[in-house]
Symmetry: C2
Subunit: 127 residues, 2 copies
DNA sequence: GCAATATATGCAAAAACCCGCATGTGACAT
DNA sequence: ATGTCACATGCGGGTTTTTGCATATATTGC
């Protein structure tokens, strides 16, 4: 009999603001596939590093992503289940790897673990 | 073979901004159930009429709602299928009538057709 | 220790948004 | 035509957002 509870529009719209920004949305679309380090996100957005870190901070302060330090790098992971659901409804389901991301990974070659899939033992000497 | 096309984050985030506002979200949550006239939305929000009209204008200019004049009243209807889907993912499915809306309908008694379900023929004279 | 790399933070100007208020318009009745 | 009711529009100021840039911190290697 009880009708549904009214949603807290204030809270919901506050969380929607996180998505309602093109660069943050792009970041979240990348992170919902896999954790990424800042250097890769920087290449993906094509924006200066402080800019990327600032958007990441907004998302981190809101509690939707978590930073995982790995040596000199920091990987960010999308940890908010509700937001993952919203992204699926808005951007569609995840299919395979992020194309832009994959392209940038081949290009920037930072020192993060993902860029060195196998620490090749480095043969004697080249010609 | 073709990976999914990149969404236009600019466009999507622009549409998300429509939802990322508590009062607009409340309006949309009401309109996804049924068309409503401005006077009822005014009662729902508890805000002055020009304020409500301004939010309605933003939604109308974005093309997600349509105004239908009916005599002296104006009814607004949610006409964007994509947005309806997003709202369902974010606020949950529609179940029954909007409780707040129903309550306000009993209280404000404006002249709109919805407030007079049957134009009672008005008997001779009361006691 | 020092240098280099990866990332974070602080600040300020520009832009956008939010919102109240005065006023405009259009329909209907008298 | 005058008034009234329902709604729309314009405008201005206050607040937040956005974003570029300078700088700070932390880790690694030397």
């Amino acid at each position: 009999m009880a009708n549904q509870a009214m949603p807290d529009y204030e809270t919901v719209s506050g969380r929607l603001k996180l998505l309602a920004h093109p660069e943050r949305l792009r970041i979240l679309d990348a992170l919902r596939r896999d954790a990424e380090c800042v250097c890769h996100l920087e290449a993906l957005l094509g924006k200066p590093q402080p800019y990327v870190s600032q958007q990441l901070r907004i998302l981190r302060d809101a509690g939707v992503i978590r930073d995982e330090k790995e040596g000199i790098n920091v990987f960010y992971r999308l940890i908010d289940a509700e937001l993952i659901g919203w992204l699926e409804a808005i951007l569609g389901p995840v299919q395979g790897e992020h194309p832009e991301m994959a392209r940038h990974k081949k290009v920037i070659s930072c020192s993060c673990p993902k860029c060195e899939p196998a620490p090749i033992p480095l043969m004697h000497e080249p010609a």
